[in-house]
């Protein structure tokens, strides 16, 4: 047994994901980050929404919660506030997090509550068969955007930053090793952390957008993901499909559950 495997419920595997799906790579990165940090499995809770990626919670060996579509962050907020000693990690898809859950996402960030949100971004709704998501790039095809998406996509990292998150990073399934590091740092951050993990959905997105199979999509990631410092030096016309990876933003800010503990103290002393 490999050392990180204790973070998996091995009796629940194999997973249900399609061959070539990137979700397994991201899930393994979370387990490896947990191993690197020596996370206490009895004091860590994994919360997910609904979608292909959100199925990951069931495979992980912690207290785990598979919520309703879009609602992982408020559920996780309740768990964290109920018992602030718990580490709470949220697994969410791009549709789950930024469409139906968009409001919860920005308000979680605004509160800077100590949650680590791992956003599995496959640019599509995988589970329901390839409909457009708020993170489907303009012009790309989806079952509900057969002529190419007209909508402008969010940049979830910029969104989280504007909303108040204190740690924001982006990685890819191709850059699996650095992804582990980005997740570990996110979990260590005392506040709202977003790790956007670009992952491939060859079945519902890649095929339809002529990106080839899983290997082709990973190649696309290797060619277009650029470390932040290098990305910033690119001229506008060199950017094209390119996007920055690494830690994109970090700050220290008051954390919600700690701030609320002060309210409790204040109220109790005032009695």
């Amino acid at each position: 047994m490999r050392s990180y495997e204790k973070y998996f419920r091995m009796n629940r595997l194999p997973h249900i994901w399609c061959p070539g799906c990137g979700n397994g790579i991201v899930m393994k990165s979370i387990a490896k980050a947990a191993e690197q940090l020596g996370l206490d499995q009895d004091n860590t809770v994994i919360v997910s929404g609904i979608g292909c990626s959100s199925r990951a919670s069931g495979y992980m060996n912690f207290d785990t919660l598979h919520t309703a579509h879009g609602r992982a962050i408020p559920f996780a907020t309740g768990i964290k506030l109920a018992n602030p000693k718990l580490k709470v990690i949220v697994i969410t898809g791009d549709g789950d997090c930024t469409a139906i859950g968009g409001n919860h996402f920005i308000h979680g960030a605004r509160r800077n509550i100590d949650l680590t949100v791992i956003l599995f971004n496959n640019n599509i709704y995988g589970m329901t068969g390839g409909q457009a998501s708020p993170l489907t790039p303009t012009g790309k095809k989806a079952t509900t955007a057969p002529f190419g998406s007209v909508d402008t996509a969010f940049d979830p990292c910029e969104l989280a930053k504007a909303a108040g998150a204190s740690y924001i990073a982006r990685g890819t399934a191709f850059h699996a090793k650095p992804l582990v590091e980005l997740i570990a740092q996110g979990i260590s951050n005392n506040g709202f952390s977003l790790v956007e993990a670009i992952t491939q959905c060859p079945i519902s997105y890649g095929r339809r957008n002529k990106m080839g199979d899983a290997a082709g999509m990973l190649k696309w990631m290797s060619e277009n993901a650029v470390p932040l410092a290098a990305y910033e030096k690119l001229a506008e016309d060199q950017k094209d499909e390119k996007f920055p990876i690494g830690i994109l933003y970090q700050k220290t800010a008051p954390e919600y559950s700690a701030e609320y503990a002060k309210v409790i103290k204040l109220a109790q002393e005032g009695k």
Partner: protein, 382 residues
């Protein structure tokens, strides 16, 4: 605590919940429920509890479900429009068997309707608002003191049956002030959080039902590493596609409540001994109905009254017995006629059931109900 106090129904509801051990509140403000949130914001921190104002009603119930899984006794409060938003996650609480209390201080609808006006329009929503099949417990107080008692009871039922329980207030009771004497803390019975009955090593399965058909999932952070999902799951808590397990689960969810239906059906009867007619009412409307029945009695009309506190599960047995005894049952409600349908069903033709609906933002006057009672007697009985 045992001194008389002048207090509001919403306030009594909040205090009752806290007395029963609620130490978490999450919600979103909406008239006429807002006082409940405001009281919680003020009182909970001193008790070591937590209040959080969420970004909307869906988040308000989600945060409370999370807190309940984290070991807290939790409450959210809302009114019609917010109650509708919460429905998907009320169902989540039912299937994942999470204890939770939702206070719905009803106002006139549909939609934003008449925001500060009294109504009893969410009776059916309380029962059938979610998708799919599950039972529901909903309790509706008629006095300020009872708002306290109902809140205690709702928290206890939520914990005992591990299910969402609804406190169905109306604006009349929620905003009314009455002099009340609350029970002493030591006289309040509190149902504790259910705990796993064996260790992980012994093969603990979080969703194995006990003799009362209710399972004992562990609180998060207690070392059991359980999985909770809104998907149909087996005793391990993990999803299953089995049609047999699905059928058994839905059946068990219903039966854990239906088997105690009579025990949790709370009601009052007034002047029913020799009654030939009955008025059946609940919530704020029951107050007026009571006054009207007393007046009618003075006029020599043999009319009695049944006042339901438990709205769901419905008081089938009570109504059936009443129907066998009286000729007619009058059902005044501040809606277009909702609970009357249940009364009709339970009466099963044994008595004539007459709806007295009111939906114009005004509460009933005793005279209106008196007139309706007089009409009951005037009509020729077939």
């Amino acid at each position: 605590m045992s001194q008389a106090r002048l207090m509001q129904g919403n306030e009594a509801c909040a205090e009752g919940a806290m007395a029963a051990g609620v130490n978490f509140f999450g919600g979103y403000p909406i008239t006429p429920s807002t006082e409940i949130a405001e009281i919680m914001a003020k009182e909970l921190p001193a008790l070591g509890g937590t209040f959080i104002q969420m970004e909307d009603e869906i988040a308000g119930i989600a945060v409370v479900l999370g807190a309940a899984l984290g070991g807290r006794k939790a409450l959210t409060a809302t009114s019609g429009p917010g109650f509708s938003l919460k429905q998907e996650l009320i169902g989540y609480g039912c299937i994942a068997e999470i204890p939770l209390v939702i206070a719905n201080v009803q106002r006139m609808g549909p939609a934003t309707g008449q925001p500060t006006s009294p109504a009893q329009g969410d009776v059916m929503q309380a029962r059938w608002g979610t998708h799919g099949d599950h039972p529901m417990i909903a309790l509706s107080p008629w006095t300020v003191r009872e708002a306290f008692d109902v809140a205690v009871m709702a928290v206890n039922y939520a914990e005992r049956f591990r299910t969402p329980v609804i406190i169905l207030l109306d604006e009349v009771v929620g905003h009314m002030r009455e002099k009340v004497v609350l029970p002493k803390a030591e006289d309040i019975e509190i149902y504790p959080r259910r705990k796993p009955n064996c260790t992980k090593e012994e093969g603990y399965k979080p969703y194995t039902p006990m003799a009362d058909l209710v399972p004992n999932p562990a609180d998060f952070g207690t070392g059991h590493r359980i999985h909770v999902t809104g998907l149909v799951h087996d005793e391990t808590g993990f999803p299953t596609g089995s049609s047999k397990i699905t059928e058994n689960t839905i059946k068990r969810l219903h039966e854990k409540i239906s088997r105690v239906q009579d025990e949790i059906t709370h009601y009052d009867e007034f002047f029913m001994e020799d009654a030939e007619y009955a008025v059946l009412a609940y919530g704020g409307t029951a107050r007026t109905a009571y006054a009207a029945v007393k007046i009618a009695r003075q006029q020599g009309i043999k009319v009695g009254m049944v006042r339901l506190m438990t709205i769901w599960p419905f008081a089938d047995k009570v109504v059936k017995e009443v129907a066998q005894k009286v000729k007619k049952i009058l059902v005044p409600e501040m809606n277009y006629g909702q609970l009357v349908l249940e009364v009709e069903r339970a009466a099963a033709g044994q008595a004539t059931v007459i709806s007295l609906p009111k939906y114009n933002t005004e509460i009933f006057t005793p005279k209106e109900i008196c007139t309706a009672i007089e009409e009951l007697t005037a009509e020729v009985v077939k």
